[in-house]
Structures are given as structure tokens and as C-alpha cells.
Symmetry: none
């Protein structure tokens, strides 16, 4: 066995023992209202995020209706394949609420009224001056393997079940009751069972499709710790880098090393991290230089201004926007009619004249002009999706031409507005040539 | 056996034969980003609702990560217990996208490139002037049991699989691609397998909360055929009326009778049906009268213009918008400085002056002015969420004042823009008093 092979075996052994320490979790959300589409399972999203931050791997989420047979079937499978099962819903007082019954059936244990819980429950009703319906007594039951999780904001206590090396947590489905119980009762009881901490950073990428980003990242995406994964979002491609370690600092260090490598291949396509948007990054750059912005938009019809003003501090750098949808309004706002007549309303020259006009009219450091064809009909000889963008600043003009997106009116608007913000960002960062 | 008992048995038999014809459905949502809590599974909610409206019973929803073994395990169980499996996600071009592989493994069939699909895919990339990464070819594969579901708004076609009396539908995870594919490709292919014909009409309601709409509808919501259900959407409350019958005509008649009753209680809050938006309804009314519109917006920062220009024919009635984010720009565009100084920039008087100024500057039939506080900080004594709206037209001015929405910047912008469109709609329909 050569040195490298020995090293590989040792790494594998270390990785394997690490993996053994990590819990395999599963979420089961109970309630027929989920399966009718009356509510969305945001509880699962909340729990999934929380599990990720404490380094617990979540492998499955299941929704099941208020039906004892199907609940037990789902629970049984979870009990076989997972170390931790987190259930929400089905703890109410009515006949439809069957989570306690399903757990008791699964474990072959009998539910019994816990007198301490019953006293607390009666006190809760007494405190709110309501008589307690007798059916509510079922909310005061336990089985031998279960500990109660107090619920000071509702009537249903949760269950924390430990048996055969597994943990099962059952909480109410009402989000605010569940959030509180999870944070204050369940997580503290789980912590002693955890081995590792997770740290995550997202790199936000513009100007490359998801498959191109993945191709550029190459074998970085096959790394197991940190993991590197790409996600296509409405406004960017996200590269999510997550690492696990015994301390938060060690996990962050692993992420930072991987981030350096990813940034090397993605270059200036990375415009920000985590919650950054193109508009917030551009806003930050302008405010740092005490510069201002005005836009004149036609194709995007106000969407560019709206993206810019989604940023809370935008009034510090954004003076205003002119949505010059008609040609006459473009002229009225300072675009020379001769330019439009010579080059056409959808042309690079008109985009340049729009950027210049708005910069002059509004007296801003930068002006953006956008013109194009949103559809449904072509304009002159320009197909639907054509877009011309110009950014004029103190040092000159940068332009870009859209590739003719054809995915529909709203997408054309969105992609054109994002591209305009990206062109301004590149201008501000000095990574694009101005003339 | 008495008459009543006989009747009960007959009803039960009829119900049972109906139930036999009903498909047992299951949803599988694929994507590690779901299990990390990065996104919420709203696709499942959408599909659950749609299945309910066509009378298909949904028994399970599962989320599974991008892992072939776990995907096949989940699929296998679904294949055993369900007649219809609807999958979303995992159809992208990257190595993480394993839905096709999982289905092929489940059914023991081999994926092969379909040359017609490959041609379409290459044409899609060619049309958007991008080179096609070779890995995308996997999006052009099929297995013998699968039919392709076209996806004109993205690169991933879906699969419609029929085998052994079961149907499996795989669609992309991107919501707008999935919605379109489900409505236009998958549902029509499912229809022949359903027992009855369903007809649905949506009444779109603005200016009432979902619970108020439900309260107003009263016992109409307990009707079983047609069913009447309310859904809170971003831009309206939808009242969905669905009826089943043996013919489409009979189902439509049932819906129309119920629609009359619903409209009686909801009155002028109903602004349209099905795919109507406030902007499309307003656009239609203006175009019918050959009238035009201009807007001056501050709080909404371009969003009102953007909503208006989301309507394909908007260039026929929308002249343009002025996003006067700074006070100086308001004055430059014709709002008297004296009005702003006397009443404040956030006031009914300033909204009126903005509506008047843009109507004069742009020479339009109608002008809308919006001013308010988007946050994060209050302006003068006005709390975050305050909004004043004015609509000036040939017959006078209508105004409304927002209730001080405090749900965040983007929500404040959205609600203010929608309220402005609704005020214009009411003005055009003559159901609001102008002064």
C-alpha cells in the first residue's frame, strides 16, 4: 500500500466516523389540509433550515393526511430508516388529531392521562375564562417513552420520545406554537446528541447559466466537505458552499478556502454573497462614492426602477426614473427625435441617447437607458426580446445588447432590468470598458 | 329493509363506484434545496389544489433530495400504492438532476436521446444566441413508456409515463415552467382518465381579505357541486367555482348559476375572471374608450408602471410613468413646491398634485399620483406603510388613503400599486365618486 493509498484509507475512515456521528433526520407533516392544498407546508421549510444549521442531515419530508393507517405506515418506515423523526400537526383535541395515537400504535405503548399535564391544561382554560371541553383531556396524555414538551402559547403539549436509539419529536402544526416549542424545548434536548456544526455561504452569480456555472466549477462540485451546489434563482445563479466541523470557526474556514477557489473560476460573474441582490450591490457602490442614479426605461416599463427601489436605502442614491413608453415622451424627456428617426427607437444609439438625456435631466452621476421589444409584436425589424442597454457615467458610456430572450414578456423585462443593473455594477467595479 | 335503508345502500353503491373511478395520487418533490430549507414546496400546494378541483384524491406528498437511491426508494413505494404519481424537480441538465434516471431505474427501461427533442433543444439555445453545453443533451432523452411534455418556457421537457395501469408525470421544479406544463400539457392528457368533466371559473376579488370573502359567501362555500373555495393570491382573492358533470355544458351551467349568487354578495369587489389582472382590466376599459394613462409614483418606485406594462397591449393606452423618487424631481415634473411645503411630501394634496401634473405633462386622459412611506424609516409624522393615491380624469379626481400596511417594503409597494389600479378601475366603472 503506497503512502497515497494509506492516506486515502485514513481519510475515508475519518469521514466515515464523522458521518456516523451525524443524525439522519426525517420530517412528517400531518394534516389533510396540506393534501388539499389549503395550506403550504412552511413548517417543513423552517425545520429543514434549522436542522441544516445544527448539522443534522435531513433525508425525507412526508406529508400525510389525518388517517391513522397511513400515518402509522409513514411513521413505521421513518422509524426504520432515520435516527430522528420530527412530526408537526395532529396534536389538537378533535377526532381528526391522530398523531399521539399513531406514535402509540407504532411503539406498542398505551396512552395514559398524565395528572400534572391535566392540571396545567385545566389551569390554561381557567386562565382564559373558558370551560375546558372534555375531549381536550386527550392533550394531557403520554406514553412511557415520551416526555412532554411544554406549550405555554397553546393547549397542545408536544412529545419528546426516546426509544431504541431513536428520537421522535411531535409538535403542534400551528407555526408560532411549533417555532417556540422547537427553539426552546426540542432543540435544547437535541443538542447533547449532536456532533458537528454547519456553516454556509452563498455566492451570487450573474451572466452565466446554471449549467455553465457548474461546468466552470468542475470537480469542486464533487467535494463532500465542504459541499458545493448550484441553484438557478429568478435573479441569479446561487453557488452554495456548506461545510461541517466540530466548531463554527473550523467550518467557516473550510468554506472560505473553497470560496477562494470558486471565485477564481467564476471571476467577476460573482456579484455578491448571501442576501445581496444586483440592486443592493449597485446601491452600496454608489452610496460609498456618494454618486447618484437616474434611469430612462422603455422595454422594462418601470421594472428597473422598481428593482432599484426594493432596496431600503435607495432614496439615498436613486433620484428617479422616466418610463418613456411612447416615442413622443422620449423626445419630451430629451432624446433627440433625429436619433430615433435615423437609427430607430430600438437601437443602441437610442439607448445611449436615453442614458444621456436622463443623466442631464435629473443631474445624476449615472444614467441608464433601456430600449427593446417586449412583444407580443416585433418593432421595425427587431424580434421580440431584443434589448439595448446603455450606462453613461462620469468616465464614459458602456453598452450591452440583449440576446433576444423569447421566453415571454415578463421574463424579457426581468432579464433586461437585471442585465442593466449588472452593466452598471461592472462599470462601477471597473471590469467593463467605457468609451 | 325499509325504504330509507334501501336508499342508503343504493347511495353507498353509487358512491363506491364513483370512488373506484377516482385516482389515488401521490406527489414527489425532488431537490436537496427543499431538504435544506432553502425553498418551500409551493409546487406541492399548487398541485394539491389542482388535483382536488379535478376530483383526484391525493394521499401522500414526499420530498426527497437529489440522491438516486433515495429517489428510487421513494418512487418504488409510490408505484406500489398509487395510480398517479406527479413529480417535480430534478429535470435540469446537471449531474444533480436525477429524476429521469430514477424513473428509468424504477421501470427497468433505458434512456435514449430523442432526435426531435434534441433538435428543439438546440433551436432553443440557438434562438437565445447561446452555445448549448453538451450536458444539456440529457434533457432530450426519453424511455419507451414516456411521452415528452413540451416546455416552451424552459429547456427541460417533462415526461408523461403510462405503464401497468399507472400514470407518472415528471415536470420541472421551476414554478412558472411547471404551472404552464401542468395546465397545458399534463392535465389535458389526464382528462380522458377521469370519470366526469370539470368546469372551473375563478372570480377575482380586490379590496376584501380572504376571511371576509369567505364570510360574505357564507353557506355557498359548503356546496358540494359546484364547490366554492377561496384562495389568497398576491394580487387578489380568488373565488374558485368548480362543477362536475357528464358534459362540459352541464358543468358550465352549474358554475354560471353559482357565479350569479357569488357576484350578488361580492358586488363590485369582483374585478374580473380567470386570468384577468387589475392592470389588464384597466387596460381593456381604457382601450375600449380610446383613453390614455400616465402615472407619477414615489412610494411604489416604478412598480405601478411595471404592472401596467406587464399587459401585452399596454403601449396602446400607457404613455409613460415618472418615478419621482426625490422631492426636487417631483417639482421639476410639475408638482408645485408650495403644495409639498404646505402639506408635506406624504399627503393627499401632494398625491393630487402629482396626478394632475403627470396628466398635464404627458397629455393623457387619466393621471395617477402615489406618495407614501415605503420604509424603513417614517417620513415626517407618517408611519411606514402610509400611502395616498389620487386618480385625475376628465370628470374629476378620486382619492384613497392606504391603511398603513406594515408587512415590509415590497408588500407596501405591491399593495399600493394594486390599490391605485383598483381606484382607477372603480373610476372607469363609475362605482366611485369623483370630485
Amino acid at each position: 500500500m503506497g503512502l497515497q493509498a494509506l492516506f486515502d484509507v485514513l481519510s475515508l475512515a475519518r469521514f466515515y466516523s464523522f458521518w456516523r456521528a451525524v443524525m439522519r433526520a426525517e420530517i412528517i407533516s400531518c394534516g389533510t389540509e396540506l393534501l388539499l392544498g389549503h395550506i403550504t407546508d412552511t413548517n417543513a421549510t423552517y425545520l429543514a433550515r434549522s436542522l441544516a444549521t445544527v448539522g443534522i442531515d435531513l433525508f425525507f419530508v412526508s406529508q400525510v393526511g389525518d388517517n391513522l393507517k397511513r400515518m402509522v405506515e409513514t411513521l413505521k418506515r421513518a422509524w426504520e430508516r432515520s435516527d430522528l423523526i420530527v412530526m408537526t400537526g395532529g396534536l389538537g383535541p378533535t377526532e381528526d388529531d391522530l398523531t399521539r395515537e399513531a406514535i402509540s400504535t407504532l411503539l406498542g405503548e398505551t396512552m395514559q392521562v398524565d395528572h400534572e399535564l391535566e392540571r396545567t391544561l385545566r389551569a390554561h382554560f381557567h386562565g382564559s375564562n373558558r370551560p375546558m371541553p372534555e375531549r381536550n383531556v386527550k392533550q394531557a396524555t403520554l406514553i412511557p417513552s415520551a416526555q412532554a414538551l411544554p406549550n405555554p402559547v397553546g393547549t397542545a403539549p408536544g412529545w419528546f420520545v426516546q426509544k431504541d436509539g431513536r428520537i421522535l419529536i411531535a409538535m403542534p402544526g400551528v407555526p408560532r406554537e411549533m417555532y417556540r416549542m422547537w427553539e426552546e424545548e426540542a432543540l435544547p434536548r437535541l443538542k447533547p446528541h449532536l456532533g458537528a456544526t454547519l456553516f454556509t455561504r452563498i455566492l451570487r452569480v450573474y451572466g452565466m447559466g446554471e449549467s455553465n456555472v457548474e461546468e466552470a466549477l468542475g470537480k469542486l462540485t464533487t467535494s463532500t466537505n465542504p459541499t458545493v451546489a448550484t441553484y438557478a434563482k429568478e435573479d441569479a445563479v446561487d453557488v452554495r458552499i456548506s461545510a461541517k466541523a466540530t466548531t463554527a470557526e473550523a467550518a467557516e474556514k473550510l468554506v472560505s478556502e473553497m470560496e477562494l477557489q470558486a471565485r477564481q473560476v467564476l471571476g467577476s460573474h460573482v456579484f455578491g454573497i448571501d442576501n445581496d441582490t444586483l440592486a443592493s450591490v449597485v446601491g452600496g457602490l454608489l452610496q460609498a462614492r456618494q454618486q447618484t442614479l437616474g434611469v430612462m426605461e422603455s422595454l422594462t416599463g418601470g421594472l428597473l426602477s422598481s428593482m432599484i427601489t426594493d432596496v431600503p436605502t435607495s432614496s439615498r442614491h436613486f433620484i428617479g426614473g422616466l418610463v418613456t413608453y411612447s416615442t413622443d415622451l422620449k423626445v419630451q424627456m430629451g432624446v433627440p427625435r433625429a436619433v430615433i428617426e435615423k437609427y430607430g427607437v430600438v437601437s443602441e444609439e437610442t439607448a445611449r441617447a436615453m442614458a444621456h438625456a436622463v443623466r442631464v435631466q435629473l443631474g445624476t452621476s449615472f444614467g441608464i437607458g433601456i430600449t427593446g421589444v417586449a412583444g407580443p409584436d416585433p418593432v421595425d425589424d427587431n424580434p421580440v426580446g431584443t434589448v439595448y442597454i446603455a450606462v453613461e457615467g462620469p468616465e464614459g458610456v458602456a453598452t450591452s445588447m440583449g440576446p433576444g430572450w423569447r421566453t415571454g414578456r415578463k421574463d424579457s423585462k426581468r432579464l433586461a432590468a437585471l442585465s442593466a443593473l449588472d452593466l452598471l455594477r461592472r462599470t462601477l467595479e471597473g471590469v467593463v470598458t467605457v468609451q
